[in-house]
């Protein structure tokens, strides 16, 4: 048994398909590409695929990851080329590698995501002021924000301190009443924060007139940590 980890994109129109759609799409793409998949046991066998983390509908990404189990050793270039032939426009495998036998699954190791968020400003604000607002925003020990309740277990909406989940937040660019924010946020089972929540809090607390309706989010990369250092899952 072998495991391949692949980094792939989900851009263009493909940002509009849901996570469940993506899972099906990948399974079928691997089947069409005749990748020697390993199946789960049971009444409804499915290929052994693990996805790093779900992306919200409408969010594009060039840093998505999955692990796939295969029966036979195959050439990585062949794997990449064949699967890419079977993927729709907007999806592409960029990199892949074999995993060591004992390595943890992609889902378990992800800790951070980096994003670019494009937001329109409702009125003109000098760049210096925006930077000051962001710096002030980050200087707080506690930033309370509403966390959307999970769909399962009838969770109630609760207020949480999101400051601890913001690793980095900076103004990336600013022109014509549009800003691009770059942020690195906690992602995965040990803490998860979505960029939407950050810009909502920013709009509310930092008095930057962001037009939330027109925000567009793009994920750049996922990270794990090794000895306190951020690493990509494939490096």
């Amino acid at each position: 048994m072998y495991r391949i980890r692949a980094r792939y994109t989900k851009t263009d129109m493909m940002k509009f398909i849901s996570h469940l759609d993506l899972v099906r799409l990948m399974q079928r793409a691997f089947r069409r590409a005749e990748i020697p998949l390993v199946f789960s046991k049971g009444f409804n066998p499915h290929p052994k695929l693990t996805f790093a983390t779900a992306l919200s509908v409408g969010v594009s990404s060039e840093g998505e990851y999955l692990d796939v189990e295969i029966k036979d050793f195959i050439d990585l270039d062949h794997f990449k080329a064949r699967v890419n032939q079977e993927l729709p426009d907007g999806m592409r495998i960029l990199q892949c590698k074999y995993l060591e036998q004992k390595s943890e699954s992609i889902m378990a190791i992800i800790e951070y995501s980096s994003y670019l968020v494009h937001v329109k400003l409702e009125k003109e604000v000098p760049e210096k002021l925006i930077t000051e607002h962001i710096n002030h925003f980050l200087s707080q020990k506690e930033i309370l924000a509403h966390k959307k309740p999970g769909k399962r277990n009838n969770e109630k909406e609760k207020e949480i301190n999101i400051r601890t989940y913001i690793n980095q937040l900076e103004l990336f660019s600013h022109e014509n009443n549009e800003v691009m924010l770059k942020m690195i946020l906690a992602t995965g089972s040990r803490g998860n924060l979505k960029p939407e929540v950050v810009i909502q809090a920013l709009a509310r607390q930092a008095q930057i007139p962001l037009d939330l309706e027109k925000s567009r989010i793009h994920r750049l990369e996922l990270y794990t940590t090794e000895n306190g250092k951020m690493m990509t899952p494939i490096s």
Binding site: F16, I17, S18, R28, V57
Partner: protein, 612 residues
């Protein structure tokens, strides 16, 4: 529509993947090299329309032609409709996101009467006049086909052209004629003139209906001598020679039937008397096992689907089913491609096959005894006995199934409350059968799902003259069953009585009900097949405002000699055969499967000549 406009729309709707197109195996073409643009329109949402096999066949068949481009059109969900209407954007195709009015043809498939308001709504969203008479030179021609087109009259004012029967050949003949017509640059009606004599083509505007004082249809005449008096359905004679797609679109989103489908035969020999499909799709034509194998193989390869369905009206009847299923399991079992057999019969042979199939992937188990007593099953010619059913479920329980679904119809001709008791008795006997199976053999958690639909008499069946149960009758029967079926292991579900009633009005309606249809849409009716949307009171008001009594179409038992609104359509089945079957039904006499011996329906005489 340009991409940025589309993207803005997609951010505002709940399930954007319904509208993006570009799925695996969808077709893109250079519009500069296209002579004819065709839109295949399904009057329901993407998830429903994409599950329809006919769409996949015709989409790919048309796109095989270099100079034709067939795109898909679905009814947008209400959130998208609101966006389009508020921004004055037209309904668009999935492939190129073009306005549908830019196409040459829009072909609607008529699978269900309660999707008719969606057709009107889609035309309106497409900025195309909803009535045929209001369309001008620049508008597309509106074609309609599919099973409901066998009674085309309720849509006579809306569609320009109907196609009766199987469309693979006739659709290309129509498009060919269109290319010629386009060169001549003549008016719209001259195109209709050009195709009126193509077999299977029905141009409703060329015919006139006359009624007597009681409202009954008396005459139905072509307005010119040269137009055909009868329109004969088209059939494909040889399924091995006709086109069948080896690549089909694989949707991104989860659709109702998300699997590859190979059609193994057309037609059905069982002769169930309520079943319209069993009559109109005659004669029986099988696809050869070699052809089925090769299509199945190609489809699995080109789609990556994990499930393959062997489609037909009664797949257990395919003559080489056992060999086929074993072959498919042998070829594709290792890749965990499951096989699904819809419309399974209640016999031990089917169960043995299922045992093989479930080694790869387990499927649900649904049986359709249709009626609760032997008497009523004989009336409808459903040749299934209680022994068959109990024997089969016993086998199923010992094979590990503990969820069984049973389908019945209520409101069948001659039905009494004893027949309803029969449904409840059968359900309880199924439960008893479960407990008789040794504990170590059966699985825990028995659920017997009983589902009843309400019988709607359909054109071209032996029950086409019958009165349909009223809404009140059906509701009383459903309540009766609800009480009888209270049991911890039974789940009972039933269809809304009012929707079946409205389905009945249009299933046997004439031209006049089209007025009420348009009126109901004007009042806001759409997605009538969806319980959340169906508004019975609005429908009744629409009929009242048009001065049409819907009971005239549903509640009346017709005489055999009454002229029926669909009598100008020729299915190849003799009316006398339907009358005989109707009489045999009343007497509870069975008619055998016509594979065993010809039952004289007439299909082998006019339409195909010789033996079925």
């Amino acid at each position: 529509m340009n991409k940025s406009v589309l993207e803005e729309l997609l951010y505002k709707v709940e399930k954007p993947s319904r509208y993006i197109g570009k799925e695996i195996n969808s077709v893109s073409k250079n519009l500069d090299k296209i002579a004819v643009r065709f839109g295949f329109a399904f009057p329901d949402i993407y998830e429903v329309g994409m599950s329809h096999l006919g769409m996949h066949i015709l989409y790919n068949l048309l796109n095989q032609q270099e100079d034709i481009y067939c795109e898909r059109i679905f009814a947008p969900w209400t959130d998208m409709e609101e966006q389009l209407r508020s921004q004055h954007l037209p309904l668009f195709t999935l492939e190129t996101h073009s306005a549908v009015k830019d196409l040459d043809f829009i072909g609607f498939t008529l699978q269900y009467e309660l999707s008719y308001t969606n057709i009107i709504n889609m035309l309106d969203m497409g900025q195309i006049p909803i009535r045929s008479k209001d369309r001008r030179e620049a508008d597309p021609f509106i074609i309609a086909g599919g099973p409901c087109a066998y009674n085309p009259e309720p849509l006579a004012e809306i569609a320009d052209i109907f196609v009766i029967g199987e469309a693979e050949e006739v659709i290309l003949e129509i498009v060919e004629a269109y290319k010629q017509w386009k060169l001549e640059n003549k008016e719209r009606s001259s195109f209709l003139e050009r195709i009126v004599n193509i077999p299977g083509v029905y141009i409703p505007v060329f015919y006139q209906a006359l009624y007597d004082k009681t409202g009954k249809l008396t005459e139905f005449l072509p307005i010119q001598e040269e137009y055909p008096k009868e329109i004969t359905k088209r059939i494909i004679e040889n399924l091995d020679e006709v086109y069948y797609p080896e690549r089909v679109i694989v949707p991104f989103m989860d659709i109702v039937h998300d699997r590859a489908m190979v059609e193994v035969f057309r037609g059905c020999t069982r002769g169930c008397r309520f079943c319209q499909a069993g009559m109109i799709y005659r004669p029986l034509r099988e696809r050869s096992i070699d052809k089925v194998k090769s299509i199945a193989h190609e489809l699995i390869k080109s789609t990556g689907y994990e499930e393959l369905s062997l489609a037909s009206l009664s797949t257990s009847d395919y003559s080489e089913l056992e060999v086929l299923v074993k072959h498919l399991i042998q070829q594709h079992g290792e890749e965990k491609v499951g096989i699904s057999l819809p419309s399974l019969r209640l016999d031990s042979f089917s169960m043995e096959l299922l045992e093989e199939i479930q080694k790869v992937r387990k499927t649900g188990l649904t049986f359709a005894p249709e009626a609760g007593t032997q008497r009523l099953r004989d009336v409808i010619n459903k040749g299934v006995t209680e022994e068959d059913l109990l024997g089969t479920v016993e086998k199923a329980f010992s094979m590990g199934w503990s969820n069984i679904k049973l389908y019945f119809m209520i409101g069948l001709p001659t039905e009494t409350y004893e027949d309803l008791d029969g449904i409840a008795d059968l359900a309880h006997r199924v439960i008893d059968t479960y407990y008789k199976v040794p504990k170590e053999k059966r699985n825990k958690g028995l659920t017997v799902s009983i589902s009843t639909s309400s019988f709607v008499p359909k054109a071209f069946t032996p029950f086409q003259w019958e009165a349909q149960n009223t809404v009140e009758d059906i509701k009383a029967k459903q309540n009766y069953l609800k009480n009888k079926l209270r049991h911890k292991n039974i789940k009972y579900s039933y269809h809304q009585a009012e929707t079946s009633y409205m389905e009945g009005v249009f299933a046997r309606g004439d031209r006049r009900v089209g007025q009420a249809l348009i009126k109901a849409w004007e009042m806001g009716c759409k997605f009538d097949g969806w319980n959340d949307f169906f508004n019975y009171d609005l429908w009744m008001r629409a009929f009242e405002e048009c001065g049409i009594d819907p009971n005239f179409y549903t509640a009346r038992t017709r005489e055999y000699d009454e002229r029926l609104p669909w009598d100008h359509i020729q299915t190849g089945i003799r009316k006398q055969f339907l009358i005989n079957e109707s009489e045999k039904a009343k007497a509870g006499i069975l008619t055998q499967d016509c594979r065993l011996n010809c039952t004289g329906c007439g299909i082998n005489q006019g339409l195909i000549g010789g033996v079925c």
